[in-house]
C-alpha cells in the first residue's frame, strides 16, 4: 500500500527469538498467583507446612527409638532424626514444587484456560513459566524456612552449613518445578496425571530418605543415584549434618542442568500449545 512501512525486517528478526518468548514481566504472573492464593485457598497452602513436620515428629521420635544412630557420610554416628530431617526437607521441596507445577498447572491449562488469556497479552511463554515457577519457589521457601526452624529447635541442624540448605532447597524445588510444568503440558486427562504420583512415590521411598543407600545392592544404588531426589537429599543432608566437601557441587551441577533443560522444555511446550 504505502512504501513507508517497509522495514529491514530480516535483520531485525534475527535477534528476536528470545524477545518473542520473554517480555521481562514474570512478576505480573507471580502477582496474579499471590492474589489468587490469598482469595481462595490460603488455608490449604498454609497447611502444607505441617506435612513434613508430622513426618519428622513421627519417624524421628518413634522410629528413631528403634533405629538408634545412623552412620553419616564421614563415618561418625548421627541420631536417626538428624538423618531423616534433610531427607524430608528435600522431599517437601519436591512435593511442593511438583504439586504447584503439575496439578495446579494442569487445571489452569486444561480447564481455566488461564494461559491462553495470559499469552494473548504482551506476555511470552517464558514469562508465564518463570512466573508460575517463581510462585512455587516462594511458597517452597516459606515451608523450608519453617521446617528448618523446627529442625533447629529439635537440635537437628548439626552445623552452621545448615543455613546454606535454604538456597539448596530452592534449587531442588526449581529443578522439579521447571520439569513438572513441561511434563504436565503433555497430559490430557486426570488418569494421566495420576502417573505423576506413580513416579513420585517410589522416588520418595527409595531415595535414601529413610536409610542410607548402602542398604541396597550395588546396581540398585546406581539407579537411585541417577534420580533427582537422591541428588537433592544428599546435597541437603551434607549441609545440615555438616559433612561438606567439593563433591556436593556435583549435586548442584545436576540441578543446574535439570533447571535449564526443564525451562527449555516448558517454554517450548507453552509455545507449541498456545502460540503455534
Amino acid at each position: 500500500m504505502t512504501g513507508i512501512r517497509e522495514q529491514p525486517r530480516a535483520s531485525v528478526s534475527a535477534g528476536r527469538p528470545f524477545k518473542a518468548l520473554y517480555a521481562g514481566n514474570a512478576s505480573s504472573v507471580m502477582q496474579r498467583g499471590w492474589l489468587a492464593t490469598r482469595s481462595t485457598n490460603w488455608l490449604v497452602v498454609v497447611s502444607g507446612f505441617f506435612e513434613p513436620i508430622f513426618y519428622l515428629l513421627s519417624l524421628g521420635i518413634g522410629l528413631g527409638s528403634l533405629v538408634g544412630n545412623v552412620t553419616a557420610a564421614d563415618g561418625h554416628d548421627i541420631p536417626y532424626a538428624a538423618f531423616i530431617a534433610p531427607g524430608l526437607l528435600a522431599t517437601a521441596a519436591m512435593n511442593g514444587a511438583i504439586y504447584d507445577s503439575t496439578w495446579n498447572v494442569f487445571f489452569k491449562m486444561r480447564f481455566a484456560k488461564l494461559y491462553e488469556g495470559m499469552l494473548s497479552t504482551s506476555l511470552g511463554p517464558l514469562d508465564v513459566a518463570l512466573g508460575e515457577i517463581g510462585l512455587a519457589l516462594a511458597r517452597g521457601a516459606l515451608y523450608a524456612l519453617g521446617f528448618m526452624v523446627v529442625m533447629q529447635v529439635l537440635g537437628l541442624n548439626l552445623s552452621w552449613w545448615a543455613i546454606a540448605a535454604l538456597p539448596a532447597v530452592l534449587l531442588v524445588a526449581f529443578g522439579f518445578a521447571s520439569f513438572g510444568m513441561g511434563i504436565t503440558s503433555y497430559m490430557t486427562s486426570f488418569q494421566q496425571m495420576d502417573l505423576i504420583n506413580i513416579v513420585m512415590l517410589p522416588m520418595f521411598l527409595l531415595s535414601a530418605t529413610f536409610y542410607p543407600l548402602s542398604v541396597y545392592p550395588e546396581p540398585v544404588q546406581w539407579v537411585i543415584q541417577a534420580l533427582p531426589l537422591w541428588q537433592g537429599v544428599e546435597l541437603i543432608r551434607g549441609l545440615t549434618t555438616g559433612v561438606v566437601g567439593v563433591g556436593l557441587l556435583w549435586h548442584v551441577l545436576y540441578y543446574l542442568v535439570m533447571i535449564l533443560l526443564g525451562l527449555i522444555l516448558t517454554t517450548r511446550r507453552l509455545r507449541a500449545l498456545f502460540l503455534d
Binding site: 528478526s13 489468587a36 481455566a112 488469556g117 506476555l123
Partner: protein
C-alpha cells in the same frame, strides 16, 4: 489517508495436511469494523488467532500495525484487545481483580490500570459487581467483563471471536450497544460471527468465509445487492409435499432455493410472487415475505445454510 492496520496476503494455516485457512487476503483500515462471516469450522477462529499473533502462519504474508507477528508477537499483542470465543476469565480472582491483573500482564503501571479498571467497569455496566466472584456472573455479564478486560490496554484493534454466541437476545442487544459505542469512538473492530444479524448490525465491511477461503467481500448492503434479490418469499408446504411443490414452482421469482423444510423464492416483489403461486393452485401452509439477508448471500455462495 492512513494505511491499513491489518494486511493479510494469501494467508495459509495448515494442521498436518488439513488447511484450516487456505489463502485468505484482506485488509482492515483504521477505525473500520470488519467481519468474518461463515459457519463453524470455516477457518474464522484460526484467522483470528493469526491476527492475534498467537498462531504462526504456514505461508503467506501478514502485517499487523506494520509489524510481522512471527517476529514481533509481544509488541503486536500489546496493541490488541482479544475477546476469545469461550470466556477465559480468571475464576480464582474477583471481577475487578481480573481487570487489574490483566493490565499488569501488559506491564502497565498499577495506578494507570486502577483508573482504567474503574472506567471500564462503568462502561461494561459492572460497577456494582466489582467485588463479585466471576462464577456468580451471568453469561452476558461475563462476556462484558471479557470485553472490558480486552480494553484495559487501550488497544488499537479489538478482536472479537463470536462475541454473542450463547447469549440470550436481551444480553446480545446490550453487548451490541457497547460494541457500537466503541466503534463510534474509533476503535478498530475485527469480529467473527455466524449470525447474519450481528454482521449486519456491526460490520462496515465483511468477508464471507467457507472452508478456509473467502467467497465474497463487501459491505453487508452491497453483498446483499450483489448476491441476492431485494425480497425473499418463504413458503412451507409441509415436509412431505415440499419437494413436489418445488418442481411446480419453476419460473417463479428470479431464483428458487429448496430447503428441507421450506422453499425460498428470491424476487424484487415477494407479495406478487405469492399471488402467482396461489394462481397455480398451490396453497402453502405458511408464507412470509422478508428482506434479503446475509444468510441468503451465504446460501447463494455455498449452497448451504449458515447455521447447520
Amino acid at each position: 489517508m492512513p494505511g491499513p492496520v491489518i494486511t493479510a496476503t494469501k494467508l495459509v494455516k495448515k494442521y498436518k495436511d488439513f488447511a484450516a485457512v487456505d489463502g485468505i487476503s484482506f485488509q482492515v483500515a483504521p477505525g473500520e469494523s470488519f467481519g468474518l462471516l461463515g459457519p463453524n469450522g470455516a477457518g474464522k477462529s484460526t484467522t483470528m488467532r493469526m491476527v492475534g499473533a498467537v498462531s504462526t502462519r504456514t505461508s503467506g504474508d501478514l502485517e499487523i500495525l506494520g509489524l510481522d507477528p512471527n517476529a514481533f508477537g509481544p509488541e503486536i499483542r500489546s496493541q490488541l484487545g482479544v475477546v476469545p470465543q469461550t470466556d477465559n476469565l480468571d475464576t480464582e480472582l474477583r471481577v475487578r481483580e481480573n481487570l487489574m491483573v490483566y493490565g499488569r500482564y501488559f506491564g502497565l503501571p498499577r495506578a494507570a490500570v486502577a483508573a482504567r479498571a474503574s472506567e471500564l467497569l462503568e462502561f461494561a455496566q459492572l460497577a456494582d459487581k466489582a467485588k463479585a466472584k466471576v462464577d456468580d456472573l451471568s453469561g452476558g455479564m461475563k462476556r462484558r467483563l471479557t470485553i472490558a478486560r480486552a480494553l484495559i490496554n487501550e488497544p488499537r484493534i479489538l478482536l472479537l471471536d463470536e462475541p454473542t454466541t450463547g447469549l440470550d437476545p436481551q444480553a446480545r442487544h446490550i453487548l451490541w450497544d457497547r460494541l457500537f459505542r466503541l466503534k463510534e469512538q474509533g476503535t478498530t473492530l475485527v469480529l467473527t460471527t455466524h449470525y447474519m444479524d450481528e454482521a449486519e448490525q456491526l460490520c462496515d465491511r465483511l468477508v464471507v468465509v467457507d472452508k478456509g477461503r473467502i467467497m465474497a467481500e463487501g459491505s453487508p448492503a452491497a453483498l446483499i445487492r450483489e448476491y441476492s434479490s431485494r425480497e425473499v418469499l418463504e413458503v412451507r408446504f409441509g415436509s412431505e409435499r415440499n419437494a413436489d411443490a418445488a418442481t411446480r414452482l419453476a419460473g417463479i421469482g428470479d431464483r428458487i432455493e429448496v430447503l428441507p423444510d421450506r422453499i425460498l423464492v428470491y424476487s424484487s416483489d415477494g407479495e406478487a410472487e405469492l399471488a402467482r403461486i396461489t394462481e397455480l393452485g398451490l396453497h402453502p401452509i405458511t408464507s412470509l415475505v422478508r428482506r434479503s439477508s446475509l444468510e441468503d448471500v451465504f446460501l447463494r455462495l455455498t449452497g448451504r445454510s449458515l447455521i447447520e
